[in-house]
């Protein structure tokens, strides 16, 4: 009884500080989402799904202030040919953004999208609502209800360059809620990049509908500002022979919870989700993934690697659910941590739930230290301990980074990881 009352009061306190945007095509979806949050209540420490990550700073009424981080590192993806869309503390910055027109894709700001775009209305809050089962994700419903900005992206062809969502953090107290909706039409193909710390507290939701034969690539870099907090959700629905590949680099951040909920609904679809994170000290990183196989002959891969030092914490909760008729499912899941000292910890909960009989699913989770023999071998060839440790660390992360198909993006991510490791040597 006490627990329930506490949950409701936390939820009320948080919702009390927000106002539901009125009007527009998303109004009904927002009202429904609000009802969902109220029914579920916001997560609380005793919730099984939040066993390893404390939700309080994500659910409390205001954001904990986060200092702005400054180094002279050039922004990631900055040298690439891309269509850049900039948000500053969660608000679209038209001036700083590129012109939104690009062949093969239509991009609109969430609030400005025309009322008659049925495709977005059919998605906004829809995949999120579906993803609330069997495990509730109240922060995502809160996002659908109150998102103050975002973009709707309709991919009809194969745009010539990636769409880069850049999130700047300029105010120490910013509390941002962004919601993006992406529809990739049959046979179309797009790459979406995301980068930047975004806000002191960031709640972001992305719903992605990948139609038959369509391809969606996603590469994200969450980095820099050490004190920032983020709860993000990706909800994806995959059609027949579609491909979804998402990779996330996380460096720094006192608290990051990345949830990814994927439903393979068409036969022969492929979903890969990968993540590489590096954390030093007061760092808590949580990858929570839920992949549902609901069609025949689909493939899913989860590859998560975490490098933790000076008391950093890594969490992985990953599930593969194979429904009764999802025969010939090929599911793979690996989560590994490299603990660079004894103070750091990795908490993993890998799960398989399989109702079909003709499937191949494997999962594994390990925690380990640097291989001393390999380190000595490198040093005996003249590579000093610091660079040798970095080389082995990058090798550990490689399986995750290699999930990125595009070589330029892969190199860029590797460069960032190498630079981070060099800055954080003992």
């Amino acid at each position: 009884m006490a627990d329930a009352a506490e949950k409701i009061s936390t939820t009320d306190a948080r919702l009390g500080g927000l106002s539901l945007p009125v009007g527009g095509w998303s109004e009904a979806a927002r009202k429904d989402a609000l009802a969902r949050v109220q029914a579920m209540s916001l997560p609380e420490r005793r919730d099984e799904y939040w066993k390893y990550t404390r939700p309080d700073t994500l659910t409390q009424a205001g954001a904990v202030p986060a200092a702005l981080f400054d180094n002279d590192e050039a922004p990631i993806f900055g040298d690439m040919d891309r269509l850049n869309i900039v948000f500053v503390d969660g608000v679209f910055d038209r001036q700083a953004s590129d012109d939104l027109s690009l062949e093969g894709v239509t991009i609109d700001r969430l609030a400005e999208a025309k009322t008659d775009i049925h495709w977005a209305r059919d998605l906004y809050g829809v995949l999120e609502a579906k993803g609330q089962n069997p495990v509730p994700r109240p922060l995502a419903a809160l996002n659908t209800a109150f998102a103050s900005d975002g973009v709707v992206i309709h991919v009809t062809g194969k745009p010539s360059k990636p769409i880069n969502l850049t999130y700047h953090h300029r105010s120490e107290t910013s509390d941002a809620i962004l919601h993006h909706v992406i529809r990739v039409d049959a046979g179309a193909e797009v790459t979406v990049l995301e980068s930047g710390p975004a806000a002191a507290r960031f709640n972001k939701c992305m719903e992605v509908d990948v139609a038959d034969g369509a391809t969606f690539h996603h590469v994200r870099a969450q980095g820099r500002d050490h004190e920032r907090r983020a709860a993000t959700h990706i909800f994806a629905r995959l059609g027949t022979e579609s491909v979804f590949k998402s990779f996330t680099l996380t460096a720094n951040g006192v608290l990051t919870r990345n949830e990814c909920v994927i439903e393979l609904t068409g036969d022969d679809a492929v979903a890969h989700v990968a993540g590489a994170c590096v954390g030093d000290g007061d760092f808590h990183h949580d990858d929570t993934v839920f992949i549902t196989h609901d069609a025949v002959n689909c493939e899913s891969r989860q590859v998560f690697k975490k490098v933790l030092r000076n008391g950093a914490t890594g969490v992985f909760q990953g599930k593969i659910l194979v429904k009764k008729d999802a025969q010939k499912t090929d599911g793979y899941q690996i989560s590994q941590s490299l603990l660079l000292d004894e103070d750091s910890q990795f908490l993993a909960k890998p799960e398989l739930e399989i109702y079909a009989d003709d499937v191949a699913c494997s999962h594994g989770s390990t925690s380990g230290a640097i291989d001393e023999d390999a380190l000595f071998y490198l040093r005996s060839r003249g590579v000093p301990e610091g660079p040798a440790t970095d080389l082995l660390t990058l090798a550990f992360l490689a399986e995750a980074v290699e999930e990125i198909e595009n070589e330029d993006l892969r190199d860029e991510i590797n460069d960032r990881l190498a630079a981070w490791l060099e800055r954080h040597r003992s």
């Binding site: 001393e372 023999d373 071998y377 040093r379 005996s380 590579v383 080389l391 082995l392 550990f396």
Partner: protein
Amino acid sequence: MLSIKNLHVKLEEEDKQILKGVDLEIEAGKVHAIMGPNGSGKSTLSYVLSGKDGYEVTDGTAMLEGADVLEMEPEERAAAGLFLAFQYPVEIPGVGNMTFLRTAVNAQRKARGEEEMSAADFLKAVRARAKELKIDADMLKRPVNVGFSGGEKKRNEILQMAMLEPRMCILDETDSGLDVDAMKLVSEGVNALRSEGRGFLVITHYQRLLDHIKPDVVHIMADGKIVKSGGPELALEVENNGYGDILAEVA
């Protein structure tokens, strides 16, 4: 070149003395061979010289061209010109052989205050040397030693030695696991490096390697000490009669 005096080494973790007073003097331009029964301490000597953890020097010294190697970090020893071809080369998944070699070459150059080797020059040098050792392009691309056969690993050690051009080369049973042709290749690789300014310490159990790499001096190690030294004929004696006579003679 390398001067070892009264070297005593015990295991760090347990009270076990392994080297019990090793004396060894290797001059530049010379090839010394060490033979000796299993467990006599040959590999331990090579590890202690290259700076592996887990051993404690309780007495004695080891100087490389006048510098105290025992005081140096492993990478400093390498930059000072010491090289160990491992008895058991280590597999390093995820690190490409090429990347590894280039990182090593340039790290040593940097430590010595020399200019780094350009990517193009490096590639040319590796390709030429790899060809001599019959190491194909695919092996260069693969992760360090991963999935290499025993003989391939040994050839890869010699490739590293050829690229790093060390002044003091220690080869720990580089011949084990090599077929007859590979033994010849490896020996040719070693012989190509023989020069005025370079010393070699070749650890082996078999005379056959020494047919190819002709040693100037042969030492017999037993129970943590050099018990006998002589010319190449000493290796032949071991080959024919085993260690029995020699050990009995010095006992």
